[in-house]
């Protein structure tokens, strides 16, 4: 954007670019809502356009097809972990408490956040989706591995446990837990199941002093 067009945009109505960003986010939220509740195959671009109150053409202006939307939803989901971590970091907890608070926040997100639910669902429907989605949960494992390394430095990680393995155990069992909860109870019991898993797993990996 040239300086003149910026100046013009800020004096007039909502800048075009900002509006486009907002519209794109709306489309993506709606896509997440439908992917989470109906699944990938049962959702069409037309459904998404109708829900968001746009024409199909307007939706295609932002995403070239449904596959691109699925990828964007999954990427949106990845962007959440660093935000969650920043929130928890602001509370200035020790490494052990930071990990627990981050995972509590994550469990809450699996229960209430459509983008997180959509990403989990797309992940389990992966074999039916015609496009390779970004590697699942890699970033989450990396992030937790760093935190477990901090816990190790603070003498809080169980001796002999490699931080990365601890992260893999937590992410796998967490994902499995929420999947079982989803299949059996549409995640109605998610927080209870998480509490149970947290008590046995985290207590073993990060024993109390």
């Amino acid at each position: 954007m040239s300086p003149t067009s910026t100046a013009r945009a800020t004096t007039g109505r909502e800048p075009k670019q900002e509006r486009a960003v907002r519209t794109r986010a709306q489309v993506l939220d709606t896509a997440a809502e439908l992917f989470a509740t109906r699944g990938y195959e049962a959702t069409s671009v037309v459904d998404i356009a109708e829900h968001v109150g746009m024409t199909k053409g307007a939706v295609y202006f932002h995403f070239k097809n449904k596959e691109a939307m699925a990828i964007a939803v999954v990427e949106n989901n990845y962007d959440k972990w660093p935000t969650f971590l920043a929130d928890v970091r602001a509370r200035d907890l020790d490494p052990r408490q930071t990990i627990l608070a981050l995972l509590d926040r994550t469990a809450e997100a699996f229960r209430t956040d459509r983008t997180v639910q959509a990403a989990a669902r797309l992940q389990s429907e992966r074999s039916l989706i015609n496009t390779p989605l970004p590697e699942p949960y890699i970033g989450w494992i990396d992030l937790l591995a760093d935190l477990f390394a901090e816990a190790a430095d603070a003498g809080q990680l169980k001796e002999g446990v490699p931080p990365r393995a601890a992260a893999q155990i937590v992410v796998s069992s967490f994902y499995g837990m929420q999947h079982i909860s989803d299949v059996l109870h549409q995640r109605a019991d998610l927080m209870e199941r998480w509490q149970e898993l947290r008590d046995v797993t985290l207590d073993a990996l990060l024993p109390h002093d």
Partner: protein, 204 residues
């Protein structure tokens, strides 16, 4: 002979396609149209082998019960020490689920449709009972800390078995069995530690 062979192949293709649909979408959302769409076959070909969605589901659960039933019986008859029994079951179940989409479908169907409708009840309850029972015995033998309920340890192991099916593979080609075996060693060590008495958080 040729005709029979072709019919058998069609049967296998349909069963695998149905298993993939059930695994991804669950029972309620799976449709015969969806199953067919992922094959090069016609709906008529499907109806030549299966009368309905229920029929497909029942066939898959029976398949899972046969395959997994035999594996579980082997583990039980080996009379392993409790902690080792937990390891063998965890690793073996994760490997079977990974290798055989029909077994994966059988477990999901059994979980979603408990009771007698599909005869899948024992599939899950047998695994659950084995995990809880072995944990209890491992606790009695001092191999696992006693402050967590056997049910919560069973839940951890089952969640892990399900979770590793979805986890990215850092070594790309490392079989899921090896991956879970690695994680198992760490979990077992972590669960074993006596440690000072923690807060009573695990009596759920």
């Amino acid at each position: 002979m040729v005709k029979q062979e072709r019919a058998r192949r069609t049967y296998e293709v349909i069963l695998d396609a149905a298993a993939r649909e059930f695994v991804s979408l669950g029972y309620a959302r799976t449709t015969l149209g969806g199953v067919i769409a992922h094959t090069e076959l016609s709906k008529g070909a499907l109806y030549g082998h299966f009368s309905s969605k229920e029929d497909l589901a029942r066939t898959l659960v029976r398949h899972g019960a046969t395959i997994w039933g035999a594996a579980l019986a082997d583990i039980e008859s080996a009379r392993l020490a409790p902690l080792n029994a937990l390891r063998v079951l965890t690793v073996s179940l994760a490997g079977r689920l990974w290798a055989d989409v029909r077994v994966r479908a059988a477990f999901r169907l059994a979980a979603e449709l408990p009771g007698e409708a599909l005869d899948g009840g024992p599939l899950l309850t047998d695994v659950w009972d084995f995990l809880v029972d072995s944990t209890r015995r491992a606790q009695a033998a001092g191999e696992i800390r006693t402050h967590c309920s056997p049910e919560s340890v069973a839940q951890l192991l089952l969640s892990l078995v399900v979770g590793v099916q979805h986890l990215p593979d850092p070594q790309r080609d490392a079989p899921v069995k090896d991956r879970i075996e690695e994680l198992w060693i760490i979990i077992a060590a972590a669960l074993r530690s006596p440690g000072p008495a923690p807060a009573p958080v695990c009596d759920a």
